[in-house]
């Protein structure tokens, strides 16, 4: 057993300094809020510069009928390039990010995003290709997409893929429409989709948009699907079940084979929510577990950065019997060439396609990042990702099991759910307060109050890219926070954290009550 104290490397003189995980950024000055672009604006300023075109300067009147012309240009903002740069650079300094420190946000898989992928996404040969260019001008892109489709099929154990969905939720809805199309093609349209109570919110929301009714099954005491409860809701009205495995508690659904049999038995399909795929890369494949449809969150598992909330990419892979329903057009290799040279690609729409789900071909530059990530890791590397993600999560789970409650005290996969219930009972300090204290300690907070099945949940996903030193620094911070909560003053302080962040706790109620969604609606 490693004593955290023992981890100090001889080269290091001050043990507390050695944890790179703490984003010790620092205030560089004025304590005012950053003004908005609109407040920085002065009439007559400008930043833009455009190419000299020498196109004849026809007057506006000759170009547009009056009824179509606006009275005055739209008031955007009027700033110099210098002020634009100052403004957004300062804003960036008010923003936590993976590049600044650990971001153990459960379910979100905030791992390090290799910089090489940024380089790929800005290659002119990829970034400047028009999506409507004829296939003769986009063979490289089509090859890239086919290569990615094949890799995702290999990883998930499926037969065909669509890369169009722009995020996980879009993938879910696409998957549900595939499910619907399949049942309809069987001449057996169905009405319901089963999901566990621990499911992510997008699942039930997608079920509704897919035209299905949600049937929720409770988890059992071990945090997994209750097989009996599941059997009791299964019948021929059920189109299928949506599961993520490991589930949102970070636990592997051990009965998955039985679950799959039960669902298939009533003619239902199994949908795999791939948001947690990071845990099982190269270890086990959804296809082998019995799933028929899988979506992948490339922005989670394949390290295409989240961008403050997007863009993502949510490709869907399916088993052979569903491939002909996939969205189109899909890129297809019509001639493999010799050693890849002289290969030729075409667009094709599957026979019974449900239709398009994106304006073009999906979030292509995100897809290019993901392929790069996959190729660098390869078969061995992806498995290593899973191994280390699971190792980190278990280490942290055990390390923190004395600090917080551990409602499911057994080995987890890539994330673990702890609870602040006892802490709250003892001191009044809630999971939310712990989260805010962690911000002040230099870490992003874990996900809190999700999954809904755990009270005062703290859902921690360290990911494989954080070091043991960072995990220990994070755990020590948790220890300190809990220890401080032991005194009434300490507890009171915790409920007032954070203190040194760009702003302190914000009044969310006021934001909703007197809504100010734009600068122009300010009083």
């Amino acid at each position: 057993m490693t004593d955290p104290e023992e981890m100090t490397h001889p080269e290091k003189s001050e043990a507390h300094l050695c944890a790179g995980g703490r984003a010790a950024s620092a205030p560089l000055l004025g304590h005012d809020s950053e003004p908005t672009l609109f407040e920085l604006s002065e009439p007559g300023r400008r930043a833009w510069q455009l190419r000299t075109t020498k196109v004849p300067e026809a007057p506006l009147e000759q170009l547009l009928p009056e009824v179509h012309r606006r009275g005055a240009p739209p008031a955007l903002a009027e700033v110099s390039e210098r002020d634009l740069v100052g403004h957004f650079t300062r804003l960036s300094h008010r923003q936590f990010s993976v590049d600044l420190g650990a971001y153990p946000l459960g379910s979100c898989t905030m791992k390090y995003n290799p910089k090489v992928c940024d380089e790929v996404a800005s290659l002119p040969g990829l970034a400047d290709v028009h999506p409507a260019a004829p296939a003769s001008c986009s063979q490289g892109w089509m090859a890239l997409l086919v290569e990615l489709e094949e890799a995702l099929c290999a990883i998930t154990g499926m037969a065909g893929a669509t890369l169009q969905p722009a995020a996980g939720a879009a993938g879910e809805l696409t998957g549900l429409l595939l499910m619907r199309a399949w049942h309809e093609a069987q001449g057996q349209p169905r009405r319901k989709v089963v999901i566990p109570d621990s499911a992510h919110g997008t699942n039930p929301a997608s079920v509704t948009l897919g035209g299905y009714e949600t049937v929720t099954v409770k988890s059992n005491a071990r945090g997994c699907i209750d097989l009996e409860a599941l059997r009791s809701v299964l019948n021929t009205e059920v189109a299928g079940i949506m599961l993520t495995n490991p589930n949102t508690l970070g636990l592997f659904e051990e009965d998955i084979v039985a679950i799959a049999e039960a669902v298939h038995e009533v003619g239902g399909l199994l949908y795999y929510d791939g948001a947690n795929l990071n845990a099982i890369l190269g270890v086990v494949r959804p296809g082998d577990m019995g799933f028929d449809i899988v979506h992948l969150n490339l922005h989670k598992t394949f390290a295409t950065p989240h961008g403050g909330g997007g863009p993502g990419a949510g490709p869907v892979t399916v088993s052979r019997h569903l491939a002909s329903f996939l969205p189109g057009p899909r890129p297809r290799r019509v001639d493999p060439g010799v050693d890849g040279v002289g290969a030729r690609y075409e667009w094709t729409t599957p026979q019974r396609s449900i239709g398009r789900v994106h304006s073009w071909h999906g979030n292509a530059l995100v897809l290019a990042r993901a392929l790069t990530y996959i190729l660098v890791h390869g078969d061995d590397g992806l498995r290593e990702v899973a191994e280390r993600a699971v190792l980190n999560a278990n280490w942290l789970r055990k390390r923190l099991s004395g600090t917080f409650d551990a409602p499911y005290d057994r080995p987890c996969m890539h994330e673990c759910v702890l609870s602040a219930v006892s802490l709250k009972r003892r001191s009044g300090v809630r999971a939310l307060d712990v989260a805010k204290c962690l911000l002040e300690e230099g870490f992003h907070a874990p996900t809190v109050y999700f999954p809904l099945t755990v009270e005062e949940a703290l859902m921690i996903e360290p990911t494989e890219t954080e070091s043991l030193q960072t995990l220990e620094a994070f755990a020590s911070a948790c220890d300190r926070i809990v220890a401080r909560a032991g005194t009434p003053e300490g507890a009171a302080e915790a409920t007032e954290a954070p203190r040194t962040t760009p702003v302190r706790r914000v009044d969310e109620a006021r934001a909703a009550r007197s809504l100010v969604p734009t600068y122009d609606t300010r009083r």
């Binding site: 955007l76 919110g201 398009r356 392929l371 954070p498 809504l515 122009d520």
Partner: protein, 454 residues
């Protein structure tokens, strides 16, 4: 496999020891052994970054990006617009790129304020009160807009102008399979939606009252339709008016809000995003404030912190999937935040005068180019409605053939129109001109065009 994970052998050993395990394999004890992959996924082994980069360069080299060697006259919702170094530099700051959805506002004011500014700018362009923090793309925004409208009106019928981008119409049809919405497409005549085909008592109108009327401005053929007609139709039928606009054209055009739109959607790619083979782009969504509680997706609002300092936070969260689950207004979670931040930067760079100038230059270029192409023997206008910066031609041969011929000469000539707009001859070509096209480029395009038709 690279240096992204930090684990040393001895650390792995000590961590396993701490867990009382003797091998990494034991971490996966919960996975039924029969399911475990014995022989791997079949992917190739990991390769060092430079090798992978070399492979990606090889692929990229078989593309033909737009630029000097392929001058772009294609649009159709994706435009070759000026993106300055400053937009790229700011939008690629790693704090914006590598952060998550702003769930902890205290450490996410950067993204939140940028989104607040984005919402303001989009609302101003659209001419309505409120905009959300982005959706996936123009098509997704359109789907969400019809969902909102049908939700608001309690109806299920969509009257959809065929002037709307064909891909978006296709996406709308795809998702209607789930929602059960009924989409009726209204054809164009001479470039404008033939609203008189839905006069009361006519065959379309017999299908019931629409919950939403959808029209594009400019439409897919580049034409400027009379939105007054669409508005009147909505007033008459009780439908909401959804207008698909182009944010750059809005620099010159009357805003959809001013025309009376209830919901305004658009493709935000022209606001600073590269063509990128179609993504990631940016779904713009704005609406009247009456509909704000039905809005899809994230919304940032201004508020204060406990010290009374101005602060921003995502708000009206009760609409969203993580709170409302099956009753949410939409299933969207991850959106296109980085693109919204990019667009805010680009709109800041353009500013009031710049967006008008870009729109004006595009219009000038398009009119100049159109006139010259129409002088080419055999080329005719496809439709007659007024255009702004994109226009449709009828060619004396299949458009795909011409596009290939001109690609050989260094031009991406445009987009071939599908048979909604032409007949089986597929002789319709959609040409877009942006502020980046010089007179010399246009002249030489016209020259090659003329030769290619000989």
């Amino acid at each position: 496999m690279g240096g992204y994970t930090p684990h040393t052998k001895s650390e792995i050993a000590s961590m396993l020891g701490f867990l009382g395990l003797s091998s990494v394999e034991e971490l996966f004890a919960a996975v039924p052994p029969a399911l475990r992959l014995a022989g791997g996924t079949g992917l190739t082994p990991g390769a060092p970054e430079p090798d992978v980069l070399a492979h990606i360069y090889d692929l990229a080299a078989t593309n033909r990006p737009v630029g000097r060697d392929l001058v772009c006259f294609a649009g159709g919702g994706a435009y070759d617009r000026e993106v300055p170094a400053v937009t790229r530099a700011l939008a690629s700051r790693s704090e914006f790129v590598t952060s998550y959805t702003p769930y902890q506002p205290e450490v996410a004011q950067g993204v939140l304020q940028a989104l607040f500014e984005f919402q303001t700018l989009v609302a101003r362009l659209a001419g309505v009160e409120v905009a959300n923090a982005s959706l996936y793309d123009g098509a997704a925004a359109l789907v969400e807009a019809t969902n909102l409208a049908l939700n608001a009106t309690g109806r299920e019928l969509v009257w959809l102008s065929q002037g709307v981008n064909p891909s978006w119409r296709s996406v709308l049809q795809t998702f209607a399979a789930g929602t059960g919405h009924v989409v009726v497409e209204i054809p164009l005549v001479a470039g404008s939606t033939h609203w008189s085909s839905v006069v009361p008592g006519g065959p379309v109108a017999q299908g019931g009252a629409p919950g939403v009327v959808v029209v594009a401005y400019p439409n897919y053929l580049g034409c400027l339709e009379d939105l007054g007609e669409a508005r009147a139709l909505c007033d008459r039928t009780g439908a909401l008016l959804v207008v698909a606009f182009d944010p750059i054209c809005a620099g010159l055009l009357r805003s959809p809000g001013d025309w009376g739109a209830d919901v305004v959607v658009g493709e935000g790619q022209p606001l600073g995003m590269p063509l990128g083979f179609g993504g990631p782009y940016l779904g713009l969504f704005a609406c009247r404030s009456t509909h704000v509680r039905r809005m899809p997706g994230r919304l940032v609002g201004e508020t204060v912190d406990v010290d009374g300092r101005r602060a921003y936070v995502t708000t009206l969260r009760a609409r969203e999937q993580d709170i409302r689950r099956e009753k949410a207004t939409s299933n969207v979670c991850t959106n296109q935040t980085l693109m919204a931040v990019t667009a805010a930067i680009q709109m800041g760079w353009l500013g009031t005068s710049g967006i008008a100038e870009v729109a004006l230059r595009s219009a000038r270029g398009a009119h100049y180019c159109r006139k010259a192409l129409l002088a080419v023997p055999g080329v005719e206008p496809l439709v007659s409605a007024p255009i702004m910066s994109e226009f449709a031609l009828r060619l004396p041969l299949g458009a795909d053939v011409l596009i290939e011929r001109l690609a050989d000469k260094g031009f991406l000539a445009g987009i071939s129109l599908d048979d909604t707009y032409t007949d089986a001859r597929r002789d319709g070509l959609l040409v877009a001109v942006t502020e980046r096209r010089t007179r010399a480029e246009i002249d030489s395009f016209v020259d090659s065009f003329t030769k290619a038709l000989r």
